[in-house]
């Protein structure tokens, strides 16, 4: 048997490395005119990544000027990476970001002006607002979602309950649904943007304004959350549950009702196909309310703007929007597409209806600080470290200090 000497081995290794490197550069050099366009996004759901990759590879195949690549950056690291990238001038050419963060990044001065470059006349106004600062358009809405009430139909029937439409009815129903092993209600209450997103529908439903939490309505919303905790229908562990965790608790049957978004539906259908659930508008105090969520595309100024615009034009065409929205469980930000997006009996239609009551957060460059004050307030109430009145007053002081 021929043994391979150390030298032969090294030689082989060097050759294969060289071949690998050259192979890599050869594909990049296949056509001198091909330019690279990079995108950062934070979706962790696999089906979302696959859908985006599909649109990207279709785009790459459809023309020969640009090659688009997408890179996943975890949501928790996204602001950090963008901040560092901005200082070090190492940004991608395009980002897909959470809509409430849009104003902050735009203030950073890293986004290109897209005014008049896209026809957004059919888009929902809230989504356009989220990427408009001082009348200048800094992005294009990717798609929208909002929160609604999910309920376990079997548990509801067993308890003999009707779908609640007001806060009082909701409290009665979730008390009836709560048992030793089942919590009546859950919504993500983590102390960050995700928690704020889930709390704002309650605040807005009282008619209170985001920046006016120390009001009758603000205190009422906080008191309602306190009631949910004190009556034991909601677990204090909600302060550690992301929306994904809440959905897992729901499909495991530990929670009878939850506040969540339509992007959970594809996962719920594949993970728990037998679960009998339905959706309803979030019960109201004085008016229906929900929080508008979703992502926006933004083009980095100084990057490969032409390439990014070419991809953006492709990705926002009707056909691609429809494909992406269906795969994501999102609703199109384009109202004309959204209205005919789903079959009549689809559960998504409820979310289209809820969208009419959904408001956007901000837009405000200091939104993260406002959001932090609000999420601190309901976390204090949930953990019992402050009364609703104290929490509201404290949050108000912080918010007043921010918006002046």
């Amino acid at each position: 048997m021929k043994t391979i000497s150390r030298r032969d081995f090294l030689r082989g290794a060097a050759a294969s490395t060289a071949a690998f490197v050259m192979g890599g550069s050869m594909t990049a050099l296949a056509d001198d005119s091909t330019q690279e366009v990079s995108i950062w996004y934070y979706w962790e759901t696999e089906s979302h990544q696959v859908a985006l990759d599909q649109v990207i590879s279709d785009f790459n195949a459809s023309q020969s000027d640009y090659v688009v690549t997408a890179e996943y950056v975890p949501y928790a690291d996204f602001t950090k990476q963008l901040s560092i990238g901005a200082v070090a001038s190492e940004l991608p050419d395009m980002v897909i970001i959470d809509s409430p963060d849009h104003a902050s990044y735009a203030e950073m001065g890293i986004f290109a002006d897209l005014t008049e470059k896209f026809d957004l006349s059919n888009y929902y106004q809230g989504t356009i607002d989220s990427c408009t600062i001082d009348g200048i358009l800094y992005g294009v809405p990717f798609g929208v979602n909002c929160l609604s009430l999910f309920y376990n139909v079997d548990m509801m029937e067993a308890a003999g309950c009707e779908v609640p439409t007001t806060w009082d009815e909701l409290l009665e129903v979730v008390q009836a649904l709560t048992t030793d092993s089942v919590n009546g209600l859950a919504f993500s209450s983590v102390q960050n943007e995700e928690g704020t997103f889930n709390f704002l529908p309650w605040l807005w439903s009282t008619g209170a304004d985001t920046y006016d939490i120390n009001s009758e309505g603000g205190i009422k919303a906080l008191t309602y959350v306190q009631q949910l905790i004190e009556t034991g229908v909601m677990s204090t562990e909600c302060i550690n549950w992301t929306q994904g965790d809440v959905m897992n608790q729901f499909i495991s049957g530990n929670v009878a009702m939850m506040i969540n978004g339509p992007w959970q539906i594809p996962t719920m259908q594949s993970e728990a196909p037998d679960l009998n659930w339905d959706v309803a508008l979030i019960p109201m105090d004085s008016e229906y309310a929900s929080c508008l969520g979703g992502e926006n595309y933004a083009v980095i100024s100084g990057g490969n703007e032409d390439g990014a615009l070419a991809f953006l034009t492709y990705a926002t065409a009707d056909e691609q929007v429809k494909y992406l929205m269906d795969e994501f469980g999102y609703i199109s930000a384009d109202q004309t597409i959204a209205e005919n997006q789903f079959d009549e009996d689809s559960k998504y239609n409820l979310f289209v209806e809820e969208l009419e009551y959904a408001k956007a957060r901000g837009p405000l460059a200091d939104w993260p600080s406002v959001s932090d004050a609000i999420s601190l307030a309901f976390n204090e109430v949930i953990t019992g470290t402050a009364t609703p009145e104290e929490a509201a007053a404290e949050a108000q002081a912080t918010i007043d200090g921010i918006i002046g």
């Binding site: 203030e107 950073m108 976390n379």
Partner: protein, 299 residues
């Protein structure tokens, strides 16, 4: 030319050898520290991070921090956390080291196994402990309940006081092997003759522990405690994963609060001010360590 030659004669040649390391430290340690210091005296937020004037605001960030209740809380938290962890890690680690120093059959493999917590990535440990301490599905509550020690599940990670306890438990578990292995090494350096002659003189086991083991281990103990302090004081990943500084900001450490200020709330200057305060504390403790090790080398 002559002067250069003269300079490098004898001992001074050592300076040349230290130059690469010095340059490396200057670029990769010195520069970030200096730039962080400058940043903390400015007012950099999202609005002037890339473009725009970065105003020099002097000590304003530090003054504002001193009035910030979350900062005060995180400073105290970091101290309490560090001291609590050090005490338990050290005592348990010491006890285990002495125990496994006895030559019984499975001493070596078991001591090896006990190194596991030190080798597991901290984020993994943090997740495991997050599950252990979970209210409704956590195994700790399950055991306590089945032994009838508690009636209602304890909300470990969502109550401010118990969340800190949970963090300390997790970190103690991680830190025990570190203490144990260093003290074990220290124990092997004590000459057996000392114990033998003491035995001849009729000294009891307890006496020889206090009069021989402890004094002989003193340099080791000092190093372990100071290194442990430095490792523990800059804790980040464990807290970030287990509680994220919550509930209601009650378990923030200096490191996590600095991160939150910089990268969640875009207050870059304030965040770097917190990081600098963390650095100053560590520098003070670190200088003690240097003093001890230098003294050791002189001897």
């Amino acid at each position: 030319m002559k002067a250069i030659k003269k300079f490098f004669r004898y001992d001074n040649i050592g300076l040349l050898f230290a130059l690469p390391a010095f340059l490396y430290m200057l670029i990769f340690v010195g520069y970030p520290i200096a730039s962080n210091l400058v940043l903390s005296f400015q007012n950099v937020t999202v609005k002037n991070l890339v473009n725009g004037e970065k105003l020099f605001v002097g000590l304003q960030n530090y003054i504002e921090l001193l009035q910030d209740s979350v900062f005060k809380r995180s400073f105290i938290n970091t101290l309490v956390f560090t001291v609590a962890c050090l005490v338990f890690q050290f005592l348990i680690g010491f006890a285990l080291a002495v125990f496994f120093n006895k030559k019984f059959r499975i001493a070596k493999p078991v001591r090896g196994l006990l190194m596991m917590p030190w080798m597991i990535p901290i984020t993994v440990t943090a997740l495991i402990f997050k599950f252990i301490f979970a209210t409704d599905v956590g195994i700790l509550n399950y055991f306590l309940k089945s032994m009838s020690l508690i009636k209602e599940n304890i909300e470990w990670l969502t109550t401010p006081s118990t969340a800190m306890v949970a963090l300390v438990c997790a970190n103690v578990w991680i830190g025990i092997p570190f203490n144990m292995i260093l003290i074990s090494t220290g124990l092997t350096t004590i000459p057996q003759e000392l114990y033998e002659s003491a035995q001849v003189d009729g000294v009891t086991k307890v006496q020889s522990f206090w009069r021989i083991t402890i004094p002989m281990l003193r340099p080791t103990i000092e190093s372990v405690l100071i290194l442990g302090f430095i490792y523990t004081f800059k804790v980040y990943d464990l807290v970030y994963v287990m509680t994220g500084g919550g509930p209601v900001n009650t378990t923030h450490m200096l490191s996590t609060y600095s991160y939150k200020l910089s990268f969640e709330m875009f207050k870059y200057s304030k965040g770097s001010a917190v990081a600098n305060i963390l650095l100053v504390v560590l520098l003070i403790v670190g200088s003690f360590y240097l003093k001890i090790t230098m003294k050791g080398e002189e001897n």
